[in-house]
């Protein structure tokens, strides 16, 4: 386990609200580390709708999800925030007034004066495919991620999906599997054309099988899969014998440990906050963006931006209890402009 990282603020979630929080905190001299379970920055914008248009960012008539994330990254660049990706916060322990020890699922420990929960709809986790009874095989012969490739050597593998994850793992595992079948609903793939071409080449060389259809049933015993029953598009059925099934059906958001950190919640889903400060019921833990609730709450990015600004004002009082906070405008304040690197 590595040394604890000490910082002013730990931001949970690197979506648009977590990113903009870096800006508001940075203007007030607070440094931040961000933790996010995805392998990229941008949260729902980057994962669910990078290419789709957003029309309601104030002063921005049109911007894509990905475009918004890139613009925010540019805006927060002066503040040098550190990102910890593919990592999820698990436990939060109060060690001061306020101060918190935060531990992630990779064993990294942070010590932060305050925490900002900008977790959106929850952590993105692999979606369970709509195959009846699949839960019985999860972890023994059904896997949603590959942690160690060697575990699949010599196995008969069935990969289901048509996106980059399914194609990447088909290409990675084909050389070590005893047999590999890629199953997809249709002949068109969402994955990068280069990956699709490489996969088709393997099919042409007889090194893997490509089958069109959908899994309707799994057969096996004691968590060990024996066969997947596949329905073709013409309605006929056939079986594929396999030892391991890797379904890549996209990601879905799960609340996860957020509900276990002692904060008052609404319906067990949203963190209740004070609208003057966006602080939760635990002093020193704030919540901004889709994850919070208050009377009149709207799940809009622009709301999360406003919430970040107010949060930073209260955060300053915790991080610099002896400093006076003078409200300044970026337009006219030389000191703010120096921090932004424009003066």
């Amino acid at each position: 386990m590595s040394e604890p990282i000490k910082t002013d603020v730990l931001i949970i979630g690197a979506g648009p609200c977590g990113l903009f929080a870096v800006f508001e905190l940075g203007l007030l001299d607070m440094k931040a580390h961000l933790v996010d379970i995805l392998d990229k920055i941008g949260g729902q914008c980057a994962e669910l709708y990078p290419e789709k248009p957003i029309y309601d960012i104030p002063a921005v008539p049109y911007i894509t999800g990905q475009g918004l994330c890139e613009a925010l990254l540019t805006q927060i660049k002066p503040f040098g925030a550190t990102f910890h990706l593919q990592e999820m916060v698990q436990t939060i322990e109060k060690i001061g007034d306020p101060q918190f020890r935060v531990t992630t699922d990779r064993g990294q420990v942070f010590e932060a004066k305050i925490i900002v929960v900008a977790a959106g709809g929850g952590s993105f986790q692999p979606k369970r495919p709509p195959i009846p009874g699949i839960e019985a095989y999860e972890g023994t012969s059904v896997f949603y991620a590959v942690r160690q490739m060697e575990a699949f050597r010599g196995k008969r593998i069935l990969i289901v999906g048509g996106g980059d994850s399914a194609l990447d793992w088909t290409l990675n595992l084909a050389p070590i599997a005893s047999h590999l079948t890629l199953l997809h609903r249709r002949g068109e793939f969402r994955a990068a054309p280069d990956s699709v071409n490489k996969m088709m080449a393997l099919v042409g060389e007889g090194k893997i099988d490509l089958v069109l259809g959908q899994v309707s049933e799994l057969r096996g015993e004691g968590g060990r899969i024996a066969q997947a029953v596949v329905k073709r598009n013409d309605g006929s059925h056939f079986e594929i014998a396999c030892d391991a099934l890797l379904p890549f059906f996209g990601l879905t958001m799960k609340l996860g440990p957020v509900a276990e950190w002692g904060m008052a919640m609404k319906d067990g889903e949203y963190i209740l906050v004070d609208t003057a400060t966006f602080e939760s019921s635990v002093p020193g833990i704030f919540a901004i963006g889709d994850i919070n609730w208050y009377p009149g709450k709207l799940k809009l990015i622009l709301s999360g931006f406003h919430e970040a600004a107010l949060m930073a004002q209260k955060a300053h009082r915790y991080v610099y209890p002896d400093k006076r906070l003078v409200f300044q405008y970026t337009t006219s304040s030389t000191s703010l402009q120096k921090k932004l690197g424009v003066a």
């Binding site: 709509p130 999906g161 598009n233």
Partner: protein, 106 residues
């Protein structure tokens, strides 16, 4: 207001009126039709408003767009007559439309 009939997996038919310009999904949600979930609210970002379009209506309704096909990859029991109902706009030509909801949504 065109009439739309939703038939559930048990065979129960429910007929409601849709507003021109809205979608088959919105019409279902407004009328509390069971079997359609619309988790993403109609953004073509999930596969939970999935319906099987009656064969007689397939030509009028048309085929899924490429974006819709990408989302249908995540659907349950996807068939050649599958559409995401949030992508079917209600028009006067769809008077009498019949769709079936699958056994479950993804």
């Amino acid at each position: 207001m065109p009439k739309i009939t939703y038939i559930d997996f048990q065979g129960t038919a429910r007929t409601v009126e849709g507003e021109i310009g809205s979608t088959v999904m919105e019409t279902a949600i407004k009328n509390a039709i069971p079997g359609i979930e619309a988790e993403c609210g109609g953004a073509c970002a999930c596969a939970t408003c999935h319906v099987h379009v009656d064969e007689a209506w397939r030509a009028s309704v048309g085929d899924p767009s490429p974006m819709e096909e990408d989302m249908l990859d995540f659907g349950y029991d996807v068939r050649p007559n599958s559409r995401l109902s949030c992508q079917i706009k209600v028009t006067a030509e769809l008077e009498g439309l019949v769709v079936r909801t699958p056994e479950r949504q993804a």
